[in-house]
């Protein structure tokens, strides 16, 4: 297990360098002048020149990137051009919101998706058809639209949950949970459809296997066969799907956070892009990449736990 983790971590370093370099290069092509954006039209030429120099914008892109990389290696992601805040501090402040969404969405989608998938696989043909339709709808309807619908019904009409905003857990656990219910539900609906379909298909093929037939013949209770034996055998494709879904949730938070005005990484990336706040955009890109790497690592670990063969390969 340990060598697998080490190997994955070692592979992630060049990945991070490549992603950050590509982002840096792409940003240099974005029209607009960051210094001018910060200073506005009213600044004097001296002020403009000073800021250009301070931001290294008077240097070639390769030099700018090298200077950036050097700072990153020293643990410094730079400062926001707009607020002057440290990018690392900003990310630290916003990360819990995005993590709460991604983890909450994954847990909810996994639980509901697996239960629905198993239920559908063990019921009659009519239930399966109905499930197919519902599942198709769940994956086809965009989650931001679901989010708007949830707000209109549960926040505005019935005033059960707040329409927007985030309360830190330490401030009020009740309001923290309240603020997350609608965004987590909106984020997870597509995932529920996705996971339940994979679980259903995996379960159907598992239930037809010889060893399941043997278990049935031995008189073991059907629910025990399904939930204990068959579900474990379905583990690999389901875990893979959950991992993939979690990765899609990471950019998915951008829309959800914007609809619910949550102070997470998603709203920050939109604002920073609009403001041409390059250090923040760059820092967030690295953070998103790290999140994807961590999710992949978790999937690998789960894989190894579920299937000992993976450890020996």
């Amino acid at each position: 297990m340990f060598p697998i983790i080490l190997r994955r971590l070692a592979l992630s370093i060049p990945l991070l360098v490549i992603v950050s370099a590509i982002t840096f290069l792409l940003e240099s092509f974005v029209p607009g002048d960051p210094a001018r954006t910060v200073l506005g039209i009213n600044a004097t030429q001296e002020q403009y020149d000073a800021l250009q120099a301070a931001m290294h914008l008077d240097q070639p892109v390769a030099v700018q990137y090298w200077l950036y990389l050097r700072d990153v290696l020293h643990g410094d992601l730079g400062d926001s051009l707009f607020t002057g805040e440290s990018v690392l501090g900003l990310i630290g402040q916003r990360l819990p919101v995005t993590l709460a969404l991604v983890i909450g969405g994954t847990v909810l989608a996994s639980l509901v998706g697996v239960v629905l998938g198993v239920y559908s696989a063990t019921r009659g043909r009519f239930s399966r058809k109905l499930f197919d339709i519902v599942s198709l709808l769940g994956s086809a309807v965009p989650n931001f639209w679901i989010a708007l619908l949830l707000v209109a019904v549960f926040a505005v009409k019935f005033a059960l949950f707040p329409a927007t905003g985030y309360t830190p857990f330490a401030e009020s656990p009740g309001q923290w949970a309240a603020g997350l219910v609608l965004p987590v539900v909106a984020l997870s609906i597509g995932g529920v459809a996705f996971i339940s379909k994979v679980t259903r298909d995996a379960m159907l093929s598992t239930l037809g296997l010889d060893h399941i037939r043997t278990l049935r013949a031995s008189g073991i209770r059907p629910s025990s066969i399904v939930w204990k034996h068959a579900l474990r055998a379905c583990g690999l494709p389901v875990v893979t799907t959950i991992g993939l879904m979690m990765i899609t949730f990471i950019p998915g938070t951008i829309l959800i956070e914007n609809v619910f005005t949550l102070p997470g990484l998603g709203t920050t990336v939109v604002e920073a892009t609009n403001q041409h706040d390059l250090p923040v955009v760059q820092g967030l890109t690295i953070t998103f990449t790290v999140m994807v790497i961590v999710v992949n690592l978790l999937v690998d670990i789960l894989y190894s736990l579920l299937n000992p063969k993976v450890r020996t390969e």
């Binding site: 607009g32 910060v38 402040q93 926040a155 059960l160 309240a178 005005t261 041409h276």
Partner: protein, 520 residues
């Protein structure tokens, strides 16, 4: 046993959802039900670029500054100047070049140190070096302090409305304490003023919400109406409306699309005022890029070729007014005579173009910011109508403010659209940027002796003659067709009816300070 665990887990989930639901839907006023919101929560679409008065943009951004930075003077609802940190003020002599301010007795910064005339001058001098949008008005000023509570401000050229510079609309009058000026970097994320509230970094999350709590050293305790003022950043205007409807916020700035959606909700109301003119700044009036624009007849033809009423209705609905002048109804520069100069008449437009030698038409490169959907719609409508008389607008959209400025500075564009525009100021300031030689929007540095003469007359006028001189200046600009105004766009404010005193002052475009609002 396992079944019991599952049951317990289910009960846990249901209990958390119930707990969540109980905590949800809480309004900003719930803590003081029936007595109005003891806390005031305002939503804005953008975070401030800085909390430094010398850097911050104006307009709705002033809501971030008003609580913490008291200004030397204020603007009363009737449009006249009111006392602030200074309680006496006025011109010295009759030339409109010297203005005197007397500081209120016993006035202190939030950190408890007394405010002296020298502190005011130091703050002004710092402000002059900034890059905020109103800084240009202060750069030519000089200062003296005859005694520790008197500041005399001198302008090299006459200014008939100098007092306005010390109200919240222009930020230079928001005096910064010596403690703040010691380390100007800190000004971006903390406040060092003398306002009724102080910014609380502990309760705020930069870029998301900004919290202000009462300042114990404020000179007028009775003027502190809220336990807490929170300004929340909510980029999506639809989310703002939902938050307003569910009671999470008390006030927001609306758009023509969302404002009608609160109709029928008795606890919410709207106030609106035309504040910015939307249309084309004809930058290249000397014909450097497009020769034809140097000809007055061509510029007049453009003004005849557009149906302002139709465009305004289509783009702004009930929240706009057709205008053919760079001033709007309700302000000193609005001229009824100018409004009649260019009725919609495409035939006349074609005739004028032909007379100027452009019967086959001409092409004008225009850049604009597409970051405001209304502006985009307006520009495209103008483009379609001008095409009818043979004038082709070659449009270039910028997706952000920096890109727009960058394009502008290339001087490849003969005209531009400033989004959300300018206006809503006394004519002396409103026309300075676009039409005077040194105005920041006069990128080609065009000089017009008639405009200069009208501007000089306005600058020297006293309060009584000021209104007529302001209208004269508008008449000159419109007669010579130096711009292509289309609509006066409203600033729209949606708010909870529990709030009292939310209004625009006479002749002004900024809501009166949020610190003066009260609750029922």
């Amino acid at each position: 046993m396992k079944r019991r665990t599952a049951l317990q887990a289910s009960i846990g989930v249901v209990a958390s959802l119930a707990l969540a639901a109980c905590g949800g839907g809480q309004t900003s006023g719930d803590s003081d039900a029936g007595a109005g919101p003891a806390n005031l929560t305002i939503a804005l679409s953008s975070a401030p670029n800085s909390l430094d008065p010398a850097q911050i943009a104006v307009g709705p951004f002033l809501n971030y500054m008003d609580p913490a930075y008291a200004t030397l003077l204020t603007r009363k609802a009737d449009g006249t100047l009111g006392a602030g940190l200074a309680d006496k003020w006025g011109y010295v002599g009759t030339k409109n070049t010297k203005f005197e301010l007397h500081l209120r007795k016993g006035v202190k910064f939030a950190d408890g140190t007394p405010i002296t005339a020298a502190d005011v001058v130091t703050s002004f001098k710092y402000f002059q070096k900034g890059s905020g949008p109103t800084v240009a008005y202060y750069r030519p000023l000089t200062f003296s302090t005859p005694d520790s509570s008197t500041v005399v401000i001198s302008s090299p050229t006459p200014n008939p409305d100098m007092g306005t510079l010390f109200t919240p609309s222009y930020m230079g009058g928001a005096i910064i304490s010596p403690a703040g000026l010691k380390n100007p970097k800190k000004l971006a994320s903390a406040t060092f003023g003398a306002g009724p509230y102080v910014y609380s970094p502990q309760q705020s999350v930069s870029g998301d919400h900004y919290v202000y709590v009462p300042n114990k050293n404020f000179y007028d305790k009775a003027a502190v109406h809220f336990k807490k003022i929170t300004v929340r950043v909510m980029p999506n205007v639809n989310s703002q409306v939902q938050a307003l409807k569910s009671g999470q916020i008390d006030l927001m700035f609306g758009t023509p699309d969302v404002a009608p959606t609160i109709a029928g909700n008795k606890s919410l109301t709207t106030v609106k005022k035309p504040t910015t003119w939307a249309g084309l700044f004809l930058l290249d009036r000397d014909g450097t890029v497009v020769k034809g624009l140097a000809d007055e007849r061509v510029r007049q033809a453009l003004n005849h070729a557009i149906d302002r009423a139709a465009i305004t209705k289509a783009v702004y609905g009930d929240f706009g007014t057709p205008v053919s002048q760079p001033a709007m109804p309700g302000y000193d520069g609005y001229s009824a005579a100018a409004e009649k100069m260019y009725p919609y008449d495409p035939a006349k437009a074609k005739k004028l173009l032909k007379a100027a030698g452009y019967g086959k038409g001409l092409t004008i490169p225009v850049n604009y910011g597409s970051f405001d959907p209304s502006t985009t719609k307006m520009v495209q409508a103008v483009q379609a109508q001008l095409a009818e008389v043979g004038v082709k607008l070659k449009l270039r959209a910028a997706t952000n403010f920096g890109a727009w400025i960058n394009d502008l500075l290339t001087k490849k564009y003969a005209a531009t659209v400033l989004s959300p525009g300018t206006g809503g100021e006394p004519n002396f300031y409103a026309q300075q940027a676009g039409f005077t030689k040194t105005g920041i929007m006069n990128l080609f540095g065009v000089t017009d002796p008639d405009v200069d003469a009208a501007y000089a007359r306005l600058a020297k006028s006293d309060a009584k003659a000021g209104g007529a001189a302001a209208k004269d200046l508008t008449d000159v600009i419109v007669r010579k067709a130096l711009a292509l105004p289309v609509s006066g766009a409203d600033t729209i404010v949606l708010y909870n009816t529990k709030l009292q005193g939310v209004r625009f002052p006479e002749g002004g475009a900024q809501l009166i300070s949020n610190t003066t609002w009260t609750t029922r």
